[in-house]
């Protein structure tokens, strides 16, 4: 039995403890152990990750005279590591006190763990697809497993999950049609057979297939204008589930896009199709879609007052960076896009877990009702701090490296306008993550939060480990760039030349070890000045007075509600909700048609139609 078989079997076996005993502490920890085992098996397959071998399964399934085989190449391995790692962190987080608390509020913890295990197993199946049929089966399973995890929250979550499902099935059906079209032309399912046949197709045929596949994949990624489902669906899922979904679920669309469009069909038809001759190709259109996805959802995130929603909206925006990088398709830009998948997963997971920890203790994620928690939950604060530095793309965290690669590539490829667009997006990110950490941890501690303590070790340990990953891969990006180069080889892109500290190319070099050293040297000088001064005197935040009155915790001296009031005064008018308006329009059109159809069945003289047809037929005869 090959390692890949073992991995799939273990992933399926994880369902067992999760479903049978997931509601107990032991069962949950056993499931967590199974994820650790999966991660161990993936590490055994590390050779796959560097792109020089492919793991195959020895259990072929034969359906309709076609053999379906599983096969994992570097790209599948890269995503699989992120998937299993995210599941491990989320499951560990959920296995201790969080689970107990979740169950006590009347939720089914067993269902949560089962849904998580189902998601991981489905994703691994998708990631080890070697043919279009298995890719589609995996895709559907991932869609439905995701739906299950979203559906487990409260009423709002179920509403959002249904919204998601409609979008997801629309995408899945487009992919299904594309798979059927490809199969009818090629007669085989395997990627290689499709790859060798597709080059002989006409441009129109290639574009139809790319259009259908792209529609499905972009929906999953939440690229505008198909993004409306995502924020609610991810934010309202149960805490660690939201973290897992936010970290990796939407990236399955990117995986499929890289495999099917970049690797199998190639981007050439997109570049060849010029919307404005010589100026603007279809690929440029997609690049601008990605850029708009960076900007608009990020500024929507800025307006959110719920920490989970804020993060979920950022998730959509960050997806734009990845798509942008991959569509650039040069070695630096695509490396940036691929690396961003990994980096984003680590800090998004971290941020969602930190927010869940806050919700666990404070009972709310409403940014207007929190504040000052840093003194009570220092570790969670540290976690969120590392996370937001990553999300904002500031050194020394890993988010900086991938964004730098994308910026650099945009400049060297001669796309300054897109570069400006990404910078506008990053500005919005910095503003909103500051709002997140400020309103949660800084400022005045509210009276009702005085008794709060730090979360237990089962929750802070995964956060600290993730924070360490975010920092280490920022300090030494070469660790992750090795896998990125493997992915690039696997999908047929030019691999990036990397060093442990970053990249070294003629287009520009980055050495994070140097950057971080300088940064910490600066911190060291500051610390030296700080500690060489007089002894600092620590005071309680209420040991203060205003207007001649001593403060009590009942007195609010610091407000965080309506955080960016001044900025909103300037840009508030730009928020029109046009996409919501459009979506409502589609639904209303559908209901119009639907009522028409029902009217047809309610009409009184059905036989009239028969007679009319009969007369027509008789006329034909005579």
């Amino acid at each position: 039995m090959m390692v890949l078989d073992q991995l799939i079997i273990i992933a399926l076996l994880t369902l067992l403890p999760a479903a049978v005993a997931g509601r107990t502490r032991t069962g949950a920890w056993v499931a967590t152990g199974f994820y650790a085992l999966q991660l161990y098996l993936l590490i055994q397959m590390a050779g796959v990750g560097s792109g020089y071998m492919v793991a195959s399964s020895v259990m072929p399934i034969v359906v309709w005279q076609q053999t379906i085989e599983l096969q994992m190449s570097a790209i599948g391995w890269f995503f699989a590591v992120i998937t299993v790692g995210s599941a491990l962190a989320a499951s560990c987080f959920a296995s201790g006190s969080w689970g107990e608390h979740y169950r006590q509020r009347g939720n089914s913890l067993g269902a949560f763990h089962t849904a998580l295990a189902l998601n991981v197993a489905a994703m691994l199946l998708l990631l080890s697809a070697a043919d279009i049929l298995m890719l589609f089966i995996g895709w559907e399973l991932v869609s439905w497993a995701g739906f299950l995890l979203m559906f487990l929250g409260g009423r709002a979550a179920r509403e959002a999950a249904l919204h998601y499902l409609t979008y997801a099935i629309a995408g899945a059906m487009a992919i299904f049609v594309a798979v059927a079209l490809i199969y009818s032309h090629v007669g085989q399912f395997g990627f290689e057979a499709v790859l060798s046949s597709v080059t002989r197709w006409s441009l129109a045929q290639q574009l139809v297939v790319i259009g259908l596949l792209g529609f499905g994949f972009l929906i999953k990624m939440g690229i505008m204008p198909f993004h409306l489902w995502q924020a609610a669906a991810y934010a309202e899922a149960p805490g660690p589930g939201a973290a897992f979904l936010g970290a990796i679920s939407a990236r399955m669309g990117l995986f499929a896009l890289m495999v099917m469009v970049v690797q199998v069909v190639s981007l050439t038809p997109l570049i060849k199709t010029e919307l404005v001759t010589g100026l603007f190709s279809l690929r440029d259109g997609l690049l601008w879609m990605a850029a708009l996805t960076i900007i608009l959802p990020t500024y929507t995130a800025l307006k959110q007052n719920d920490a989970r929603w804020l993060l979920a909206w950022h998730g959509i925006g960050q997806g734009g960076y990845m798509l942008l990088g991959i569509l650039l398709a040069d070695s630096m830009g695509s490396a940036g896009g691929i690396l961003h998948i990994f980096n984003y997963a680590t800090y998004q997971l971290l941020l969602f877990l930190a927010v869940t920890a806050v919700v666990f203790r404070a009972g709310t994620a409403n940014l207007n009702q929190l504040g000052g928690l840093v003194t009570r939950m220092p570790l969670s604060f540290l976690a969120m701090l590392v996370g937001i530095i990553g999300l904002a793309g500031i050194p020394p965290m890993n988010g900086f490296v991938s964004k730098w690669l994308i910026y650099r590539s945009l400049i060297t490829e001669g796309m300054p306008l897109l570069f400006v667009a990404t910078v506008i997006g990053t500005l919005g990110t910095i503003l909103s993550v500051y709002k997140l950490i400020h309103n949660t941890f800084l400022g005045q501690l509210r009276a009702e939060h005085h008794e709060i303590r730090e979360v237990p070790i089962s929750m802070w340990l995964p956060m600290m480990l993730l924070a360490a990953v975010v920092f280490i891969t920022g300090f030494m990006p070469g660790l992750a760039l090795e896998w990125v180069a493997g992915v690039q080889v696997a999908v047929g892109l030019k691999p990036i030349t990397y060093t442990l500290g970053g990249v070294e190319t003629i287009n520009g070099s980055l050495n994070m070890i140097f950057v971080v050293s300088v940064l910490f040297f600066g911190f060291g000088v500051g610390a030296l000045l700080f500690y060489s001064g007089n002894r600092s005197h620590r005071v309680n935040q209420l040991d203060n007075y205003a207007g001649g009155h001593f403060l009590t915790s009942e007195t609010r001296y610091h407000y965080s509600a309506d955080f960016y009031a001044g900025l909103m005064h300037l840009i508030g008018g730009w928020y029109r909700g046009s996409f919501l308006w459009f979506e409502r329009g589609v639904v209303m059109t559908l209901s119009l048609f639907s009522n028409g159809a029902a009217l047809f069945y309610r009409s009184i003289h059905p036989s009239l139609y028969l007679l009319a047809t009969a007369v027509l037929v008789l006329y034909m005869v005579v």
Partner: protein, 486 residues
């Protein structure tokens, strides 16, 4: 095998004897019907082996083909008979039905078997009329105003339809001088006027399409299923529609393998899928929702049938069998759930098993892998994708859109089912009648689905073998061996 006519004769005879037997002893009548059906079922199952290598033609009373009444037994027909008997046995309420209903049921079974096995259009027509009459009686059983109104409507559509079918048969006889299917199958397309053939086909499907829920003849469906008892609806939507479908399959395969016919079917199927699913989307009543969805599903079956060649028949049979398994089970649920959707709120908390099974069944209906519904849908889509032309492209788009609409309304229902009920004063806790039998039958359907999805390769192969036999025109001719060339 020579006694295959018993499948028609015994139920019909039973139907006439039943009222007299009931006078002797009520128990005799009550147990007579299920025992009779069980006997027939056990007698039919071993026959499957005999037709595995090739179909069998039987001339009743040894009068040879064009003159005598001929029966044609292949695997598809026998499977349909078996499923008809099995489903009826499982869902018929033995202890609740009156004697005359039992009689009508037997007539329905006998005539359905007649339709399935006949090798002659005129006999099919006769049995079809008989089946219609029996179904009128069964549908009106509740004797409510709505039931009368619905049945009247059904009666009008159905009888106008059969008259048209008769006209179509006359047209065929006028053109060819025979009504035996094997004789007609031997005709080359040059042998008769194409326009006349298309006209005859149109008239025939206007008649036979009524029961197969073909658009636009399915107007009676929502009202009738809403007004009749859900078991009758289950029987009609699940099995009787497939019997009518078999007639159309035979017509398309043997008599009219012409592109115009496929085109006509495709247009009707596209409209059927769209109208059915869209109407279901706005439906706020469980039974009606199922009825509309059933029409949409049969639209998919016709869409598959519109694909020329064996691939089309295979997809149509796969979709039809899948629908046959699932729809009766869903209609059984309507017995206790058959009401406004908003009244089903929170049912998950009182009947978790049924809700879970309901979700499994609709997942297969939507075509979620690895359930069998996915493979059936795959056959349809890959068949459509291999066709050229804008009609096929439109069909692909319609299947995709219809699935999205379907998922939207079915899972909206699921959302309602698991929604917590608000604890207000006027909100009494939901207690719907709880039938254990329904639970068992649902579990059975779900079990078959799961078992099939684990053995999908074997199921697929068997299905292919069945369809190869049914889709082979030359085989039909060779088996029946008609002596006179028309």
């Amino acid at each position: 095998m020579q006694q295959i006519a018993l499948l028609v004769a015994v139920p019909l005879l039973g139907a006439f004897l039943l009222p007299s037997l009931a006078r002797v002893h009520l128990l005799l009548a009550r147990w007579g019907v299920p025992l009779l059906l069980l006997g027939l079922l056990l007698w039919t199952v071993p026959l499957l082996q005999q037709v595995e290598s090739g179909a069998v033609a039987i001339a009743i009373g040894h009068f040879a083909a064009p003159l005598g009444i001929s029966f044609y037994v292949d695997q598809l027909a026998l499977w349909l008979v078996i499923l008809l008997l099995a489903v009826t046995l499982l869902i018929w309420p033995v202890f609740k039905s009156k004697v005359h209903q039992q009689s009508l049921l037997l007539i329905l079974i006998g005539s359905a078997c007649g339709i399935i096995l006949s090798g002659d259009i005129f006999n099919i027509y006769v049995f079809y009329e008989l089946l219609s009459v029996a179904s009128f009686g069964l549908v009106v059983e509740r004797r409510s105003g709505a039931a009368y109104a619905a049945t009247l409507r059904y009666l009008v559509v159905s009888s106008v339809g059969t008259v048209l079918a008769l006209a179509g048969i006359a047209l065929i006889y006028n053109a060819t001088g025979t009504l035996n299917l094997a004789d007609l199958a031997r005709l080359e397309s040059s042998d008769w006027d194409r326009t006349k053939a298309i006209a005859a086909f149109t008239l025939l499907i206007l008649g036979f399409g009524v029961k197969a829920e073909l658009f636009p003849l399915n107007q009676w469906v929502p009202e009738v299923y809403g007004a009749a008892s859900s078991r009758i609806a289950a029987l009609m939507a699940g099995v009787i529609s497939k019997v009518a479908l078999l007639i159309i399959i035979r017509l398309v395969v043997l008599l009219f393998p012409y592109p115009e016919v496929h085109q006509l079917l495709m247009v009707l199927a596209i409209a059927g899928v769209l109208f059915g699913e869209l109407a279901a989307w706005q439906s706020r009543d469980f039974t009606r929702l199922l009825a509309y969805s059933s029409m949409g599903q049969l639209g998919l079956v016709f869409m598959a049938l519109a694909i020329p060649g064996e691939a089309g028949v295979l997809a149509a049979v796969a979709l039809a069998l899948h629908h046959l398994l699932i729809k009766p089970a869903l209609f059984l649920l309507a017995e206790s759930w058959g009401r406004s959707l908003s009244q089903l709120r929170g049912l998950w908390y009182t009947q978790p098993l049924k809700v879970a099974l309901f979700i499994l069944l609709i997942l297969s209906l939507l075509g979620v892998p690895p359930l069998p519904g996915f493979w059936a849908k795959w056959l349809l889509l890959s068949g459509l994708a291999s066709l050229d032309g804008s009609l096929a492209a439109m069909a692909l788009a319609v299947v995709a859109v219809a699935t999205v609409v379907e998922v939207s309304y079915l899972f909206n229902l699921v959302r309602i089912l698991v929604d917590e009920r608000e604890q207000t004063v006027q909100d009494v806790p939901l207690t719907l009648p709880h039938s254990r039998v329904t639970g068992v039958l649902l579990s059975l359907a779900a079990l078959i689905l799961v078992a099939a999805s684990f053995n999908i390769a074997a199921v697929g192969q068997h299905l292919q073998q069945i369809v190869q036999q049914a889709g082979d025109r030359q085989h039909y001719i060779a088996v029946v061996k008609p002596e006179i060339k028309p």
